[in-house]
């Protein structure tokens, strides 16, 4: 046998299903029955022939049968071991990637938050307001009604702008600006304003650390803990407000943003958990995050795994040391024998993370449960058995079973030939050899049945893994584009944008271009940001090298511009789906737009349009690369991930040869005709190869409704 690992299989292990225990009993007891039959044959040989040569021939045959029966008993154990190992490995691999997806999703989200807070702190309305507040406090003598009025106006404006942020980015419970003494000057949440304004947060860590930041590029994040600002546990991002909005300026106050961590985490934690027909998460499946101290910070089931408590997990799962470390084990969780997968955060890009760990707990029996779906994918068991989905070691066992089956059959027939040569005396051997043949056929037949079951389960598990990857791919792009939609809505309200269009002077255009330049420098995913006036003439852009070319262009006929000119409220935005754009000379361009409204108001007359051009390839490639099917960390050879738009054309891909951009891919209808948020999997043929595929259709994310795209992840199996 090629199998070198110690056999773990034990028929008494409770994870063995009833059906498998019965099958194992049947195979082994049938094979055991062969030994007395062989003994009977050896005795008969002495009875029916005096010829020592004939006796030896029969004895030899019987011994061969005994040998192969013994060998089949051993193979049966190995086979069951492999069957359970294969299911275990595949299940663990899916669970690991699920735990990883969850922590990755939250990390990506938290990275966006760090960009947000640093950028917002530069807002004129905020530093002006704090400057006035500080001034008034410093010179008690100038405590006039006018100064009071000015400050009130500044506070009102700051509150309005904070509200605008909260309306554009719906992920925050509140945003506050605080003076140097720790007094809250303005906030975004109108419902809590009366309580929050004037509150002193000087003792809170997030405030103190914000004042200590060296420049505008630094920020602080306070791990989930309590704050005076709200009743529930808060995750607060903070940075300093600086004089004149200068990144290097003197610290004049602080800004704190209270991220709706629990709401966001609930979405992520409940995702990828199986649900019952009633839509409830299946029993004994849990997903939760723990902090550095091993305490639960958010859980998919607060009744069993409550936040704030030490996680009911073995110590090894609570104490993961290294970033990106994964630990898998089985233990009792909430009284149920479970598989536990824990994955420590590794941060994302420049965001180092807060040393959180994502845990996924599922019933151990779920790893070995037979797939309920019994769909016909148009692939024969034989073809499936020989496919790349089945590990080589299992294929070898299959071949060995086949060989033993052939050997037993051959021995039986040769035995019958020998018995026939003995004439009438030999006829008593015929039932013995018949029985050997029958037993050989029934046991190997049962094993073939189990192998077929295993290969079909492996197919199901692989399809499920691809579905998960495709869901991850579409979720990540949806979440990313939501952030961009929030960005464009917020930026469109920036004073530099509307001032340039309201008072069209070279100085104002220059100021707007400078402002757009600062934005673009803070992000890596934009090629350019442009402001077009109501005639479609580009008056400012972020990249000086494009300026001359863009100034000569008129975009009045372009979809993004026309959508932007229809906007009358600052919470709206428009998007031009990925297409070939003349403006950029790029094959794949994705352009978002926001309406620039008079006086930067929330609702009003549109003066022009802010267009943001994505560096599409750069944005999308890492996402797709991260969703490719992998085995032990390595991308499966020939595996590919791609997005198709609602015209079924590829708009981004990891495989420019087989699933090229612009190509209409001939995929199964079930994978193309999905409803929003649905996933599907299947088998299809393309490029002379047979692939398995998992697909998920966008369901959008928060205010971003999605553009009808579908993510597909494929891997060849032949």
């Amino acid at each position: 046998m090629s199998e070198t690992k110690a056999i773990k299989f034990n028929i008494y292990n409770p994870i063995i299903t009833y059906e498998h225990r019965a099958a194992y009993d049947m195979i082994v007891s049938h094979l055991q029955e062969i030994f007395p039959i062989c003994n009977q044959g050896k005795c008969k040989a002495l009875e029916v022939s005096d010829d020592p040569q004939k006796q030896k021939q029969i004895n030899d045959l019987m011994e061969k049968v005994e040998f192969f029966s013994n060998s089949l008993i051993t193979i049966t154990k190995v086979f069951f071991d492999q069957l359970y190992r294969a299911k275990e490995t595949s299940s663990q691999s899916i669970s690991q990637s699920t735990a990883m997806i969850k922590i990755d999703m939250i990390e990506r989200n938290l990275l966006e938050r760090t960009c947000d807070v640093r950028w917002w702190a530069l807002e004129k309305a905020f530093w002006q307001c704090i400057t006035l507040a500080n001034k008034q406090k410093a010179s008690k003598t100038t405590d006039t009604t006018k100064a009071h009025g000015d400050l009130k106006n500044a506070v009102d404006l700051a509150c309005t702008r904070l509200e605008d942020i909260r309306n554009s980015y719906t992920l925050y419970r509140d945003l506050v600006i605080v003076d140097l003494d720790g007094r809250v000057i303005a906030n975004s949440n109108e419902e809590r304003r009366e309580e929050v304004l004037g509150m002193n947060v000087a003792s809170e860590d997030w405030f103190q650390k914000a004042l200590q930041t060296k420049d505008g590029t630094e920020y602080f994040v306070q791990d989930v803990s309590s704050s005076k600002l709200e009743g529930m546990e808060s995750l607060i991002y903070s940075t300093a407000l600086r004089a004149d909005g200068d990144e290097q300026g003197k610290v004049i106050g602080a800004m704190g943003v209270l991220f709706d961590f629990q709401g966001e985490s609930q979405i992520i934690l409940n995702d990828y958990l199986p649900v019952s027909e009633a839509g409830e998460t299946m029993d004994n499946w849990f997903s939760f995050f723990t902090n550095k101290a091993g305490r639960v910070i958010c859980s998919s089931d607060e009744s069993f795994i409550p936040s704030g408590e030490l996680a009911d997990l073995p110590r090894s799962h609570r104490n993961l040391k290294n970033s990106g470390e994964t630990h898998v084990s089985t233990a009792a969780v909430c009284g149920n024998r479970s598989l536990i997968v824990s994955r420590k955060s590794e941060g994302f890009d420049e965001y180092k993370g807060l040393d959180w760990t994502s845990h996924l707990v599922l019933p151990e029996s779920a790893m070995f449960a037979r797939s309920l779906e019994n769909e016909d994918y148009g692939i024969s068991p034989q073809e499936l058995m020989n496919s790349k989905l089945i590990p080589d070691t299992n294929k070898k066992t299959y071949q060995e079973i086949q060989r033993n089956k052939g050997d037993i059959q051959l021995i039986s027939i040769n035995g019958i030939i020998l018995a026939t040569d003995l004439g009438k005396a030999g006829t008593s051997f015929i039932p013995i050899f018949d029985q050997i043949t029958t037993t050989g056929n029934s046991t190997t037949g049962k094993m073939e049945e189990l192998l077929s079951e295993m290969s079909s389960d492996m197919l199901q598990q692989n399809l499920m893994a691809l579905e998960n990857f495709s869901k991850q791919a579409i979720d990540l792009i949806d979440r990313n584009l939501f952030e961009r939609a929030a960005d464009v809505r917020w930026w469109s309200t920036d004073h530099a944008c509307w001032e340039a269009l309201q008072s069209a002077t070279d100085g104002n255009f220059e100021e707007a271009a400078k402002r757009l330049g600062i934005i673009n420098a803070s992000y890596t995913m934009y090629r350019d940001l442009v402001i077009a006036d109501s005639n479609g003439r580009i008056v400012a852009n972020s990249k000086s090298e494009n300026r001359d070319k863009l100034k000569r262009m008129n975009v009045s006929e372009q979809s993004w511009f026309r959508q932007g000119m229809q906007i009358s409220r600052s919470v709206q935005f428009g998007v031009q789906d990925v297409c070939n754009s003349e403006l950029e000379n790029e094959e794949t361009s994705l352009i978002y737009c926001g309406g620039i409204l008079e006086n930067g108001q929330r609702e009003g007359k549109v003066l022009g349009v802010l267009g943001i051009f994505f560096d599409w390839e750069n944005l999308v490639s890492p996402i797709l690369e991260g969703c490719l099917p992998r085995i032990k960390g390595k991308v499966v050879h020939g595996g590919a991930a791609f997005y198709v738009n609602d015209e079924r054309k590829v708009i981004a891909t990891t495989d420019h040869e087989n699933f090229a951009i612009g190509q209409t891919v001939d995929l199964p209808n079930e994978n193309l005709s999905l409803n929003a948020g649905e996933s599907a999997s299947g088998i299809f043929s393309a490029n002379d190869k047979k692939y398995i595929i998992g697909s998920s259709k966008t369901q959008g994310y928060r205010e971003y409704e999605g553009l009808g795209w579908t993510a597909h992840v494929v891997r060849p199996i032949d």
Partner: protein, 158 residues
């Protein structure tokens, strides 16, 4: 009488068990220069030299290749056949031990004399002796002497 069956493509064929000396697998063929294509080569069966005929070629089809499932029927020669105990049948094979290389063997069947039916006139073939019906299918009973004595069939040897 008992028959051992095998498949040639989708056709199930049978040869009488008493005519068989042994069924084997994985023999090493020794090719013989100048031998007709229908011959796979010679094998050594415990000191006996056995010529092996390729059943696929003998029936004018594709060559049977050595594989996990392929087997060789080795037939008794005429004198060995006569030594079979209590033999109450008249059968001939060939003066020498000859083997037939087949794709895969199947089960052993018992066929009563009254089940043997003549080969339909439109299916006449020099190697076919009888046809037997089993369930919904037919099994062709071969005449070993014909297939084993290829020297009498010049067409195949040419």
């Amino acid at each position: 009488m008992l028959y051992s069956t095998f498949y040639l493509g989708e056709t199930k064929m049978a040869v009488p068990i008493p005519a068989i000396l042994e069924i084997g697998r994985s023999f090493k063929f020794h090719s013989v220069r100048g031998s007709p294509e229908v011959i796979d080569g010679l094998i050594n069966l415990r000191g006996k030299v056995v010529t092996v005929i390729n059943s696929g070629m003998a029936f004018g089809g594709e060559r049977v290749l050595s594989a996990d499932d392929s087997r060789i029927f080795i037939f008794k020669n005429n004198s060995e056949l006569r030594e079979v105990a209590d033999s109450d049948f008249e059968m001939e094979t060939a003066p020498d031990n000859i083997g037939i290389h087949v794709d895969r063997i199947a089960d052993v069947i018992r066929v009563e004399k009254e089940e043997l039916q003549a080969v339909p006139s439109n299916m006449i073939h020099p190697f076919y002796k009888f046809v037997v019906r089993r369930d919904d299918s037919f099994i062709i009973i071969l005449e070993p002497a014909k297939i084993l004595n290829l020297n009498e069939n010049e067409d195949l040897l040419s």
